[in-house]
Chain length 160, copies 2
Amino acid sequence: MNIGDVAALSGLPAKTIRYYEDIGLVKPLRSANGYRSFRESDAHKLAFLGRARALGFSIEDCRNLMALYEDDHRASAEVKDIAEHHLERIDEKIAELGEMRATLAHLVHACAGDHRPDCPILADLAKASKNAPQPETSTKQTSEQHPGQRPGQRRIGQRG
Amino acid sequence: MNIGDVAALSGLPAKTIRYYEDIGLVKPLRSANGYRSFRESDAHKLAFLGRARALGFSIEDCRNLMALYEDDHRASAEVKDIAEHHLERIDEKIAELGEMRATLAHLVHACAGDHRPDCPILADLAKASKNAPQPETSTKQTSEQHPGQRPGQRRIGQRG
DNA sequence: TATTGACCTTCCAGTGAGTGGAACCATTAG
DNA sequence: CTAATGGTTCCACTCACTGGAAGGTCAATA
């Protein structure tokens, strides 16, 4: 099959499949016209990859999982190990996001959200949490200031 | 103060602060020797940015929040709007990760994790979930196969 | 004074996992 | 013949930095 066919079967964009070939995850044959020619096994692999990626596994994890999948003498412990590590990382992320969510929800709740400028959200972001109430600015000036004439900044303010 | 001082005050790496100047988030002065010279207000901005980033706001959000923070005539509704949108995105992510977690935890629990090759995790990844039991491969061959002699792959298997 | 060492500068390249687009080739239908 | 569709390569871009090279500056010490 051509790339469009495996794309439809696996649900992966053709671009992604080309990328997966580029990084060595699949190795389709080539037809005489230069088109990629995918076997059943390639389509199977791509579906496998799609599902592993949907579970959040990294490409490196996918590579290892694929290798284990194709190894008849694997120990399921190796697979479980990868999955458990991934599970831990997911739990960490959920915890991190949960903390963000709690703080943010609290601030959002406290903000009137009207025409007035008073805003607990900005107040919280602006508050000095660590140190330096009057940090004393003990840093000695190396020489006198002059306005930033060569700040060397590009892409000022617009994204990409 | 020099970059090291604001780095210590804000908790941001000097590299990050240079990057923030590059994208126009801060505009420190320059000393005669070419060193960046940060005012109190710059240090304050950087601390603000550090906290906003820690809450997961994107750089673009930070840019907008900074602008609102510096606008005495802002409406708190604008700030709340940004925060609520971010909160929604966080909730979506938590939900997504939660689904992954559930599936993965189920699979991990079902896997013996021993020396034997039988593995429900791999079985699940490999199972055909969508369509194509025998997908019939109706795709006509454009020409006969020949092994992949010009697959054009680079960085095969190693991370770059 | 020379030299260290900490600090600063710029610029370039890389991260993960693709995505968008240009320029071009192949196949097929009308 | 032409157009549409689908394939090819290659390059640049994303996001928010991070690492490192090559070199300039400054304060302190031998």
